[in-house]
């Protein structure tokens, strides 16, 4: 450690602290404050819990919450896909590096591009239905985006398509950092592929998987705005309404930032609760912070 006078470290920290106060510190305090006010312009009168009571009564908000909750179903799917594909890649299937490059590619593509391509593919007369009809599967040729029964599942499929790449690469990085002697020892002891996966590989990946679960849960609850905005704008009706879109609509369309702030505060609190296991994981990994 450098031995410096007491004030020196803070001189180095000051620019970053200022920026973080601007981008996080002030907004996080202000959004809580706004959520108790009827905001017009830059501020407004204190109205207690009215904003919260209003969203609790709003059916559209209920839809938004339940859709975010349904999106959580994508998390186990992402975990399953990522485990299987990363383990296969780890076993050095010939060409595994090419597969890795391809499988990670969607994560680099921009969500608007992905969303627009998929929404054209999944039109009622789009390529997906054309292929299904061509294969004689007329009953499967659904109105993927235009029907309120299917739209959310289609959005979820697109999210999985793009986000899986991150899980695969993350798990693979963890696997590549493992000590292979354990695998070899298990193989010599006669453990089959499945036994090695369950008793050797997965236990060593546990923390990485848990980390990915937490991050994916936060993503599904509060980081999928661009998918919904590009693919369906929350429709048809409110079939793909989600909390982020609800915030966006109330703050910037209906000019009711107080209501929107109350929803933002709810998302903030949920994130804070989810951060706790994240920290437990990090300290279990043996590092500080």
């Amino acid at each position: 450690m450098l031995r410096t006078p007491h004030h020196i470290p803070f001189l180095y920290l000051a620019p970053a602290l200022t920026l973080l106060l601007f981008a996080f510190g002030y907004p996080l305090v202000a959004v809580v404050n706004f959520s108790f006010r009827r905001i017009r312009g830059a501020t407004g009168p204190f109205i207690g819990l009215d904003n919260y009571l209003q969203i609790i009564k709003d059916k559209v908000f209920h839809d938004a919450v339940s859709h975010n909750a349904l999106l959580l179903l994508a998390v186990p799917v992402l975990i399953g896909i990522s485990i299987v594909l990363s383990v296969f890649l780890y076993e050095r299937v010939p060409g595994w590096q090419v597969y890795r490059s391809i499988l990670f590619m969607p994560y680099v593509l921009a969500v608007p591009v992905v969303g627009i391509v998929f929404s054209n593919m999944f039109q009622l007369n789009g390529v997906v239905n054309e292929l299904l009809r061509g294969a004689g599967l007329h009953t499967l040729a659904l109105d993927w985006i235009g029907s309120s029964r299917m739209a959310l599942w289609t959005v979820m499929g697109v999210i999985v398509w793009r986000e899986a790449g991150f899980g695969i690469v993350l798990f693979l990085a963890r696997l590549l950092s493992l000590n292979e002697e354990l695998q070899d020892a298990a193989r010599i002891d006669g453990a089959g592929w499945w036994q090695r996966l369950v008793y050797v590989t997965l236990p060593q990946m546990r923390e990485t998987i848990e980390f990915y679960v937490v991050v994916s849960v936060i993503t599904m609850l509060a980081w999928v705005f661009s998918y919904v905005y590009v693919i369906s704008r929350g429709g048809p009706g409110n079939a793909t309404q989600i909390m982020e879109l609800y915030i966006y609509n109330f703050a910037f369309r209906n000019a009711l930032p107080g209501i929107a702030s109350a929803v933002a505060v709810i998302l903030f609190v949920v994130t804070l609760i989810l951060i706790v296991p994240l920290f437990r994981l990090r300290s279990a990994n043996g590092g500080s912070a």
Binding site: H6, P9, F24, V31, L103, I116, V127, L170, L267
Partner: protein, 281 residues
């Protein structure tokens, strides 16, 4: 006829793994294939067959797309936003990470933990106060206001990554420089930074990708037509051409070229950087 050699070379397990990976790779590539072939079809060609290879190749969709959308302007706007915020974030994070990694002070571990927590707070939570605050100081719809927002939002990750990297630089190197009479700032600029090339490249790649791909913040904070980022631009473009799929796909193809080229050449930095936030440094 029998091929005895094959009996030994085909391993059903390996075949199965290949099969699964192949299916996964195909499902990743199919939308890309669709985008590419559709971009070269005429509208009638597209309505007749949506999946086959285009004959003849129609280039006109690209000129229509370029006329219908302001791709170069959007692209330039996104470059300005990404470059500006990456520079600001790296500048302030380098200083802070140096203090975190190499100096002793009260509250250090607490502040580092707080910084890590900020990495997962979704931007939508901060968006309303940021909007109102920027509006009150007349920085809505300006590059500088939005660059500061982006720089602030990616800074927790920058600090996290650089702090972990600086910690791996052996302290003996720092000590010997100090004995030679170097100041703390000398140590940072002349010793730490020149050794940090890979970490800085990773940071540039990950942060640019983050800013480049953001839609929500650009949508809210840069409402003017001529300040649209590429993401906002192509979203508008996509809905304008939702009845002319070939032109829409040509536009999407144009919009993907920059990041795809970067990915092809700098893949390891993408992978390393995006994994870095998750794995202990």
């Amino acid at each position: 006829m029998r091929f005895p050699a094959l009996r030994y070379s085909v391993d059903p397990a390996a075949l199965f793994k290949h099969g699964v990976l192949m299916v996964a790779a195909l499902s990743v590539l199919l939308p890309a294939y669709f985008m590419l072939v559709t971009a070269f079809k005429s509208q009638t060609g597209y309505s007749l067959n949506k999946f086959d290879f285009p004959t003849p190749l129609i280039i006109g969709n690209f000129t229509t797309a370029l006329r219908g959308g302001r791709f170069f302007l959007w692209f330039a706007n996104s470059v300005i936003l990404s470059t500006g915020s990456v520079i600001v974030s790296i500048a302030v994070s380098t200083l802070a990470a140096f203090a975190f990694a190499k100096m002793q002070f009260t509250g250090r571990n607490f502040m580092l933990a707080l910084n890590t927590a900020l990495m997962v707070i979704p931007p939508v939570v901060m968006l309303i106060p940021l909007f109102l605050f920027l509006a009150s100081i007349r920085l809505i719809g300006t590059y500088s206001g939005v660059i500061l927002v982006y720089a602030g939002l990616v800074t927790p990750f920058s600090i996290y990554l650089l702090t972990n990297f600086f910690r791996t630089i052996p302290h003996e190197i720092v000590e010997s420089a100090l004995i030679d009479g170097a100041s703390a700032l000398d140590v940072l600029l002349r010793i730490m930074l020149p050794l940090s090339g890979p970490a800085l490249v990773t940071l540039i790649v990950v942060n640019s990708l983050w800013v480049w791909n953001d839609l929500l913040i650009a949508l809210v904070l840069l409402p003017q037509d001529n300040l649209r980022s590429l993401m906002v631009g192509i979203t508008v473009f996509g809905s304008r051409y939702n009845n002319d799929v070939p032109v829409a796909m040509a536009g999407m193809f144009l919009a993907s070229i920059p990041m795809m080229v970067l990915y092809l050449f700098g893949q390891k930095y993408f992978i390393r950087g995006l994994v870095a936030g998750a794995v202990k440094g």
